[in-house]
């Protein structure tokens, strides 16, 4: 039943964070794993009992067969006629027992499989659910600073490998040990000397397997490094194939690819070949053991027949010899399995550590005495706010701003001046380092995040849509919206005209990232999403950057209507879109350097004046 897995590359993630796997880290992880499994205590015990039962009966079957063979042999060697029917009955009896035992093994193995599946899949399911729930509560600073691909692979691949490795490894280890002990006991009962032969020789295969795997570990490591190198190149070049083509770099890139490809091919040849020697070598040890058992067994059997057995060296029958041979055949298997189980368990713990790393991150928690933010008027006070993403790289310092309800605030400034950061702070995606932000006079740290965030309608530059129908995307924030409301919102945003032209209209399914829609269309949908249910305050971060100006003019009216009586923050590159704001904040290097309405700022002739006029070139029509 040994599945030949040599040459098979372990799935999941090899590059585990070493830090998470210090000795104490490992112990810690194991403790957490056990805690998680404790819910399945009952099932695990049953699974272990079934494993024991199946091992016991698996070992009994050859014995019964051996008994039958002995009887046949006695019949054949001309037993007296009186004992004939007795022997025949004994044969039938042994065979029926063997058949029943085999059935018991079959049933108990099957039930054990089902139980193990249940434990495994349910554990993975629970871990995944917990991880996703955790991700929902992690501060955005964590998500922003960790690679998305890495988190995804932890949730999907690592969770899988953890459960697979841990539970299968666990049961295999248990079955293996049980088999070794069981076989030993059974063999000792039959013949001590032959048992000694088996016991001495079989562990050899374990050593050989360990030897080979320790030698090939480096090769596999090299292979996975080169594979990683190749994947990085593929990722970079295929992901940007258009640029590669535009610069005619296909050949150069292919050369670079081939160079890595050649190295990879060599290292994987080595890794695959050397690791695939394990099986033939252990099989050879097995064969030697088999031959030794056959030889010694034969001597004992011949001695027994010759009546030359003493008290110390007991003779054996032919049937016993076959039992020994069949045990010798199977005895190496658990040894080989245990060595692979060890590495599987280590892998599982490593994967578990990676998953628990996420689960152990501190969540965003509301202060104990928070209240719900209700009936927001939209007065916002920003007082002496300092903020930075990285401790020693200050970004926003000493920011002050007063916004009265219904005011329209525009934020302009060069890239990296802190516009988007302002929004992160207002929505409390990040907390301020110093100072305070309050809404309607309440510090936003004293209200629940949910109630704060739902007071804002947000349209971001990054147009995120979920894989669902257009209608589902529009009703994202208000699942109960009727179709009429959806269409109305789409008409207001100007999205209706393009949705109408789609094959399935509002039921058109958009895939991950909304790939089939243009950037502008996606942005329109994001606007519609907010239009459906307009909260008392608005944040528009480059909300129309990908929409052409003509369409923009058309939705400008809708925006106006939307912003009526609502405190709004608008970030835009295009200065034309913010001209009509009540206050324009000109930001530079994390400070507000100018503040006022469009005309005041123009009249001042400062930074805003420069910015604004640079978009009208000197060749502007002179009327």
């Amino acid at each position: 039943m040994a599945l030949d897995t040599s040459g098979f590359v372990p799935k999941g993630n090899l590059n585990t964070d070493e830090t998470a796997l210090g000795k104490s880290g490992r112990k810690d992880t194991v403790r957490k794993v056990l805690k998680r499994l404790s819910g399945y205590r009952f099932l695990i015990i049953i699974s272990l009992i079934l494993a024991a039962v199946s091992v016991l009966f698996t070992l009994m079957v050859p014995i019964k067969i051996g008994d039958a063979i002995d009887c046949i042999e006695q019949l054949a060697s001309g037993a007296d006629s009186a004992s004939g029917p007795v022997l025949q009955r004994a044969i039938t009896d042994s065979l029926i027992k063997a058949a029943v035992f085999a059935l018991i093994v079959g049933v108990s193995t099957y039930v054990m499989n089902l139980i193990n599946n249940r434990i495994t899949y349910h554990t993975v399911r629970d871990i995944r659910n917990d991880t996703i729930e955790k991700i929902g509560t992690l501060p955005l600073s964590y998500l922003d600073s960790h690679s998305q691909g890495d988190i995804v692979s932890r949730v999907v691949a690592d969770a899988d490998q953890f459960a697979d490795g841990l539970l299968m490894g666990f049961t295999q280890a248990f079955t293996g040990i049980m088999t070794i002990i069981g076989t030993l006991v059974f063999m000792l009962r039959m013949n001590v000397a032959i048992t000694l032969v088996v016991v001495c020789v079989t562990p050899l295969s374990l050593f050989i397997a360990r030897f080979i795997s320790s030698r090939t570990f480096k090769m596999f490591k090299k292979q996975s490094i080169e594979r990683g190198e190749q994947t990085a190149l593929i990722d970079e070049m295929i992901g940007n194939a258009k640029v590669v083509k535009a610069f005619n770099k296909e050949k150069d890139i292919l050369e670079r690819f081939d160079e890595i490809n050649g190295r990879l091919s060599e290292s994987s040849l080595k890794a695959i070949f050397y690791s695939s020697l394990t099986n033939p070598c252990t099989r050879f040890v097995n064969a030697v053991c088999y031959a030794l058992v056959a030889m010694t067994g034969s001597y004992f059997a011949i001695m027994a027949l010759g009546g030359n057995t003493g008290r110390v060296i007991s003779g054996i029958t032919v049937g016993t010899l076959t039992v020994f041979l069949s045990y010798a055949n199977q005895y190496t298997k658990p040894f080989n399995e245990i060595s692979s189980v060890i590495s599987e368990l280590q892998g599982a713990v490593a994967c578990a550590a990676r998953v628990f790393e996420i689960l152990d991150e501190p969540s965003e928690v509301n202060d104990p005495d928070v209240s719900e933010l209700k009936d927001v008027d939209g007065m916002i006070d920003i007082k002496d706010v300092d903020f930075s993403y990285v401790p020693d790289k200050e970004l926003i310092t000493d920011l002050n701003l007063n916004v009265t309800p219904g005011q329209r605030v525009a934020i302009v400034g060069p890239t990296g001046c802190g516009k988007t950061t302002m929004i992160n702070l207002l929505m409390r995606f990040y907390d301020v380092d110093a100072g305070s932000i309050s809404v309607d006079g309440t510090d936003i740290r004293k209200v629940t995040r949910d109630s704060l965030r739902s007071s804002y309608g947000m349209v971001l530059q990054d147009t995120w849509l979920t894989s669902a129908t257009i209608a589902d995307n529009i009703r994202f924030g208000a699942p109960n919206a009727s179709m009429e409301e959806i269409v109305e919102a789409a008409k207001a945003s100007g999205a209706h005209s393009f949705i109408r032209r789609l094959p399935d209209k509002y039921d058109t399914y958009i895939g991950e990232g909304g790939a089939e829609l243009s950037q502008g269309q996606k942005q329109l949908l994001c606007i519609t999403r907010v239009m459906l249910n307009i909260p008392p305050m608005l944040i528009l971060d480059e909300a129309t950057s990908s929409i052409d100006t003509r369409t923009e003019i058309r939705i400008q009216n809708a925006f106006h209507k939307m912003m009526q009586g609502r405190t709004s923050f608008i970030v835009a590159h295009r200065l034309s879109t913010i001209r009509e704001s009540d206050v324009i904040l000109v930001m530079k290097d994390g400070h507000i350097i100018e503040q006022g309405d469009h005309n005041t700022l123009l009249a001042r002739g400062g930074f805003y004046y420069e910015l604004y006029n640079s978009q009208f070139t000197d060749s502007a029509p002179k009327q």
Binding site: A68, I69, L95, T109, Y110, I132, D235, F284, M427
Partner: protein, 589 residues
């Protein structure tokens, strides 16, 4: 799959030798039970301690069989590994070459993540499949068949039982496999589903929180996740049967075998050693069958991957890049010398789709600057991507220097054109490495000049010169910095045709203007295409093409278009609007 078999062509010898040696190993393994049978018959026949040398002889034979088996097996592993890794190397090479040569529309169609999965995970799966196939596919059936044949040599009646049992086992394993494979597919798609959800939850974290829908997303995930666990359990009901069921069948068969043996022995037709040998053969069949079943799973996975890879190879649409290089150059002499002409060009990305561009005709003289303006989805990017032949005309013809670009070598054509793509992408390496994409042999002076022209001096300076490292995708640069370097990259090429595809979107207006001024002053006078949504960016162009819904709504200078093109005027006014009337007065105040 058939398509991929050609990659084994270079490894014909290995593909032949690996299974051959594997079969040799199997042959030696098949002899073992026979030796044991002789041994047992010898024991039962010898009434005294007699002839010990026979036992020793048997022992030596067993050891020799083991050694020969070991050697042939190791040899087989080597050839199999060699063939498998060679196969995957050649496959990866061709696949990568194929992918990187796909046309723009094919790339759009296929999607990046699919391409990457095909290149990595799928190729690895196929490699593993080839390896295991070469090692086991012949061995297992051979041992099964061999065991049956050996059984016939021992006892015909018992051997008939072998035939029946092998048939029963094959049917059992086959049925389990058949029921299991669609389940595995379901599991896979469930896994893909939660992968997609996880990715969405991460990329959309801000939106999800802003809309306070964390709970609903959690419910959705838990539902999908629960369904996955359910499918996995269901799949387990079937696949979990495999081992216990085959075990039970084989052991029942052994029981039957022994009772048949009992009868045959009593008739004198069979010796006890023979019975033991039959018993051993039966056990061997069990071991091999399980291996075989596992192999089928591996092979099935490999086949699925292979098919997915073949599908990718299949993609060589009508506009495959090399398809028409051999055709004679179609020249066109229209009297005037134009560097670029569009003659009634239409473009459709997919059959049956709406036209992205319809009936576009215009001609451009060398050194002209052409602005292209239009709303979202009006066809601006499609139009300029046709110039280097990234998209090929569905109807009509594009001429460069009077030659139909369909008859031009892609390398020559693209050598003429420098593109600054909409998405500012840089590659891992130094700034200099990136700039050299434009021209391999560019000197430092050339590059510094290009950097100066693209107003990127400060970028290079703050990063620490041309030798400064850029991370993959240019992550360590801001959007505006990246954009300027991509412009520099195109300028290093000194192209005859320079295309700026909305490439100043991340630049502030001042930088944008300096950049346009610099390009205007280039001494080699390239023909420039500027695509933009900003009127200001294209206003100074010699001519402006106005696109709407894939059609040309007008072409001409700014003043002309203001006069006679409604679409253009509307765009312009939407950006400058009444301001034109107001600003001068306001400024005057």
């Amino acid at each position: 799959m058939k398509k991929l078999l050609i990659y084994l062509k270079n490894y014909r010898i290995q593909c032949f030798l690996a299974p051959l040696f594997k079969m040799l190993e199997a042959v030696f393994e098949l002899f073992v039970p026979l030796v044991i049978a002789y041994l047992i018959d010898h024991i039962t026949a010898s009434d005294a301690q007699g002839d010990n040398s026979f036992v020793l002889k048997c022992f030596v034979i067993l050891i020799v069989l083991g050694i020969v088996g070991l050697i042939s097996s190791c040899t087989a592993q080597f050839f199999a590994a060699k063939a498998a890794t060679g196969f995957s190397r050649d496959l990866r090479h061709d696949l990568f070459k194929h992918l990187i040569n796909l046309s723009y529309s094919e790339i759009d169609d296929l999607g990046t993540s699919t391409m990457i999965t095909r290149m990595t995970a799928d190729v690895n799966t196929v490699q593993n499949g080839v390896n295991m196939f070469l090692r086991l596919f012949l061995r297992s059936p051979f041992i099964v068949a061999g065991a049956v044949v050996m059984a016939f040599t021992i006892d015909v009646k018992a051997a008939l039982l072998f035939l029946v049992i092998v048939a029963v086992l094959f049917i059992t394993v086959g049925l389990i496999m058949k029921a299991n494979i669609p389940m595995l597919k379901k599991v896979q798609s469930g896994l893909d589903g939660i992968l997609g959800l996880t990715r969405e939850d991460l990329s959309g974290a801000r939106v999800i929180r802003a809309f306070n829908v964390e709970e609903r997303r959690q419910d959705e995930f838990e539902e999908a996740n629960g369904a996955l666990a359910g499918t996995q359990l269901k799949a387990g009901y079937i696949s979990g049967l495999l081992n216990p069921l085959t075990y039970v069948i084989i052991n029942l068969a052994i029981v039957m075998l022994i009772s048949i043996g009992n009868i045959q022995v009593s008739k004198g037709a069979l010796t006890t050693g023979g019975v033991v040998a039959l018993y051993n053969y039966m056990s061997q069949i069990l071991l091999e069958l399980i291996k075989f079943a596992n192999l089928i799973v591996t092979i099935n996975r490999a086949l699925a991957s292979a098919n997915r890879i073949s599908d990718v190879f299949e993609i060589t649409g009508a506009d495959a890049s090399s398809a028409s290089v051999d055709t004679p150059a179609a020249l066109r002499d229209s009297g005037e010398k134009y560097i670029l002409e569009f003659d009634d060009v239409s473009l459709r990305y997919m059959e049956g789709a709406d036209e992205a561009l319809s009936n576009i005709s215009f001609a451009v003289k060398e050194g002209e600057t052409i602005g292209i303006i239009g709303g979202t989805g009006s066809g601006k990017s499609s139009l300029i991507n046709m110039i280097p032949g990234f998209y090929k005309a569905t109807s009509g013809t594009v001429y460069v220097d009077g030659q139909d670009i369909k008859t031009m070598d892609d390398d020559t054509l693209r050598g003429l054109v420098g593109v600054v793509p909409q998405k500012a992408v840089l590659f891992a390496g130094t700034i200099g490495d990136n700039l050299k994409w434009g021209n391999k042999d560019a000197s430092d002076e050339d590059m510094e000049e290009a950097v100066r022209l693209s107003v990127a001096e400060d970028v290079v300076k703050t990063k620490g010169g041309l030798g400064a490292d850029i991370e993959q995708g240019g992550r360590n640069l801001s959007g505006g910095q990246r954009q300027r370097l991509t412009i520099a990259r195109a300028l290093v090429k000194k192209p005859r045709i320079l295309i700026l595809d909305d490439s100043s979107s991340a630049l502030d207006n001042m930088t944008d203007r300096t950049l346009r001024d610099n390009i205007k002053k280039l001494d080699y006078k390239p023909t420039v295409f500027i695509v933009s949504q900003r009127s200001a960016s294209v206003r100074d162009a010699d001519r402006i093409i106005v696109l709407e819904d894939g059609m040309m709504a007008g072409i001409g200078t700014h003043t002309e278009l203001m006069k006679n093109c409604d679409v253009y005027r509307e765009i312009y006014e939407s950006q400058f609007g009444k301001e034109m009337d107001e600003t001068p007065e306001r400024r005057a105040k």
